[in-house]
Amino acid sequence: MAKQFNVALIGNPNTGKTSVFNRLTGLNQQVGNYPGITVEKKQGICRLDRGVKAHVLDLPGTYSLNASSLDENVVIELLLNKNDKDFPDVAVVVTDIENLKRNLLLFTQIKDLGIPTILVINMADRMKRKAITVDIAALELRLETKIALISSRENKGFEALKKLITNYKRLSVTPCLNASSIAPEYFDRLRKTFPNQDIYKLWLVITQDVNFGKLDRNQLKGVTSFKTESISNLKRLQQKETIKRYQFINQVLKETLLVDKENAKDLRGKLDRVLMHTFWGYVIFLGVLLLIFQAIFDWSSYPMDFIDSTFASLGEWAKNTLPAGDFTNLIAEGIIPGLGGIIIFIPQIAFLFFFISILEESGYMSRVVFLMDRVMRRFGLSGKSVVPLIAGTACAIPAIMATRNIENWKERLITILVTPFTTCSARLPVYLIIIALVIPDQRVLGIFSLQALTLMFMYLLGFGAAIISAWMLDKVLQIRSKTFFVIEMPNYKLPLFKNVGITVVEKTKSFVLGAGKIILAISIILWVLASYGPGDFNNAATIVQRENLETSISQNQLETKIAAFKLEHSYIGHAGKFIEPAVRPLGYDWKIGIALISSFAAREVFVGTLATIYSVGNDDVETIKNRMAAETNVKTGKPLFNFASGVSLLLFYAFAMQCMSTLAVVKRETNSWKWPLWQLIIMTAIAYITALGAYQWFK
């Protein structure tokens, strides 16, 4: 058994840390969460010489050890806790040759913790273009470390890096900065009180919650007495530390790094002038959005249709092949369609993350954030909320996961809370069938189809609801959080397709395994509720046969009638009857009530549920539409689906929080049931009131 040791990959954002991780571990990696929080934990195994294996942990990107976000706090908490099973034997600090100065700040901090530290200088392939020369030997000497100059794009330098990792025990652990020089008097006092402690570590422990504050510091008793220093005094010392470190770095780089500005090619400036132009920047962004929409709605419909029909025939096959009975029914009508209901979202989610990851890898996303920040801020959102709101048109689940890089908690929370208003793809089938039913097939001004305009209006309505509720939440929520916003404008890069591929696979996997479990569970519960019932349910066949003795109907018609009778008397049918008084003012009957309940698993279940209820043998939209058109309201004798009840349904689906999986994700991301419950109550209330108003107005 080869012995393993721990390697931690640390670095600023945008240094290509993830590419280095991917190169070191290949597909030998697993992504999870840190216990109790939603920061992604990526780890993998790297094979070194002579059968030695290293456990590699890819820590979240951070600018320094003074954490100001949840992600950054993970880094410092690990590095201060020697007893953590992931505590690194060696730290690998990844830097970008073009931003070496800034990246080295973190390096000096890590090295000062007394952990053996290797410096990786990435993006060596850009040195020529940018006319950069660096004296590696001199730099190694000055920083007292070993350096690997690599290019993850061209896969160069990794053998040397692996050798350095293997021989980590030979690395010097001399600190770069004498901590006492920050404030001699203060640090002397500290040293006298804790003679056995590393002084820089102590200092970090003391100052942690100046910026963030969630660190468990039980292991160091008596530290609180040093809190007597006022917060702003500590901040001043932190500022001093940063300046001291930069002085050291500037001195070192002056001797070792040369940038010939005259010969550097400046692609960034040219691209920025176009992509961030006050007019063309927005036009281009709109074009990119259109492309993404096209992919999500048009291109992914082909694999989705294929998945749909495959699962339909799989269910059919299971029913015909397995011995008849409850268990087979559960598989064929509960589990297989349930699985299909998860898998069918894979194409959209994969496309979405494909584009998002390209936009992020290329550096364009930061420009979008820049362009949109001012607009979004008016509504209590951040420029960084744009991505989730776009993603929400496919599915709110990945969209809510994409809010993680918003550092301001209030802005992030508002984004999470309003994202489910955007028109997700599950609403689309519902909209399509209702619009076809109640909106006349006419043209406006001779060109625009009234039905298409209505559909577009529904999308705008979704965005509008999200923006307006964000604005209101901004006024209502009493959360004090720093309104501070800073975003790095990284260099433009051609995306590495290996990275894009891994992101798509990982995100899709986490959707299928995470949200998928819940969707599957709900589908099984719905199936049970629709397949069993009290009293008359169990004599359905006899009762329906007796009722139809005089009429001559075919065997098929009889069976569909029995199915409809069963549904009406099943548990879910009773539930529908139970809520009927509540939905009647909206213009619905108990059958639509059932569809509303079952829509809670996923909105698009609406169509399928109505198909069963109206005893149509298949899901073909046209037949359901005809059946729905023929339904009459028992009281008025007029068609049940008229303009008033149709508009009421459209509004209800636009606003209601009907998605169990979204609630589960919100719970996971906010770490509390409070927010998903509020979301459920308030969104459903808005839906109910607007639907009620619309029906009563148009009736």
Partner: protein, 84 residues
């Protein structure tokens, strides 16, 4: 009093001391240090946010933060400012 927020496109300035109580440490860590040269590359509509280069780093901050950082504007003739 000149601050980063009063910079015009292409103009440069030297950062003076700023208060740790209003300007977060993060900005300092990203390279925005007293004594460093800062240049305004571009702004979004309404001059907000502002896209800066400072100490070799490219970053964007909101105008309200920029207005907290005092600078001394570097006077320059027109010909050099056009090159930025």
């Amino acid at each position: 009093m000149a601050t980063i927020a009063s910079l015009k496109q292409g103009q440069r300035g030297i950062i003076k001391e700023f208060s740790v109580d209003v300007v977060p440490l993060k900005l300092l860590e990203m390279g925005c240090l007293p004594g460093n040269e800062v240049a305004l590359v571009q702004t979004a509509p309404f001059q907000d946010p502002m896209y800066l280069t400072v100490n070799g780093a490219h970053l964007a901050i909101r105008k309200e933060t920029a207005a907290q950082i005092e600078i001394e504007i570097i006077k320059q003739d027109l010909s050099t400012s056009l090159n930025i």
